[in-house]
Symmetry: C2
Subunit: 157 residues, 2 copies
């Protein structure tokens, strides 16, 4: 399948949001997305972008995206975090995902970071195997902790 | 024990690096720290700081720190990531850790984020229990993936 990779632009905000919502359904959290089109426009394409996004287009329609940003490791210094890599279901297994994945890795090297990091659900075997086969390492002993603003307010009372 | 919390300054860079090295030993990765004092000075206290750090002092000596920075969630928007919370071993269980933890959570609310996130080693039971008791949620199904620059270069060849 022919496709085209490019950096996302403000006009892609709706397409990006739709992909984010599709991933939330896949991850069994359909109601978790609080982000709006306006948030994406401001946070991704305003004066101080909080993330960098690449999109994959088929016939000029966005069918996949990779969204990343910089983090900071106290071992390695500046790193890239891959937040989301999403391909619309009917366009999977056609090379879009691998191309976006490669693009993020190129972006990381262009920015001279020593590491790219992300998280994966342990039951998402296809993703786990793809990452391992590419040369990345999955750390099962590192667990993610999250503290919501409401729970923090309660804790600080 | 009396202690004092404050935002870290450039002069704390050596003390910060020593705490980072102490944590790496505890996490069984004594050689993982590539960061230098100069990196910390530039990345934390230069023109465009990549992180925010709080320190806990006892008798004007830094004995603990919490280092955090902003991330971006495609579900929640801007979030705070707690990268390290480190108390020198002989100063543990005296309230410094809890005070720094609270300070980071206050910082998160001051910045109106919807979530604070971090990772914990599953065998670090004391930390896991402390986080859970405070109201945070530990997600065991989310695993961390890391791709080093050397491995990325090999993958892209």
């Amino acid at each position: 399948m022919d496709f085209n990779l490019r950096k996302a632009q403000k006009k892609d905000s709706v397409a990006i949001l739709k992909l984010i919502e599709e991933l939330a359904v896949f991850e069994k959290e359909p109601d978790a997305v609080e982000l709006t089109k306006e948030d994406i426009e401001r946070d991704g394409f305003g004066e101080n972008p909080l993330f960098t996004c690449f999109v994959a287009e088929v016939n000029k329609q966005v069918q996949g995206m990779a969204l990343c940003y910089f983090r900071y490791s106290t071992w390695k210094g500046k790193t890239v975090h891959l937040e989301d890599l999403i391909i619309r279901e009917s366009y999977r297994n056609k090379g879009l995902g691998k191309a976006l994945y490669k693009r993020v890795m190129e972006f990381a090297l262009e920015n001279k970071v020593k590491r790219v990091e992300w998280v994966v659900l342990d039951w998402n075997i296809n993703a786990v195997n793809f990452y391992k086969n590419s040369g990345a390492t999955v750390f099962e002993e590192w667990n993610t902790v999250q503290f919501s603003d409401d729970a923090i307010r309660q804790f600080l009372q």
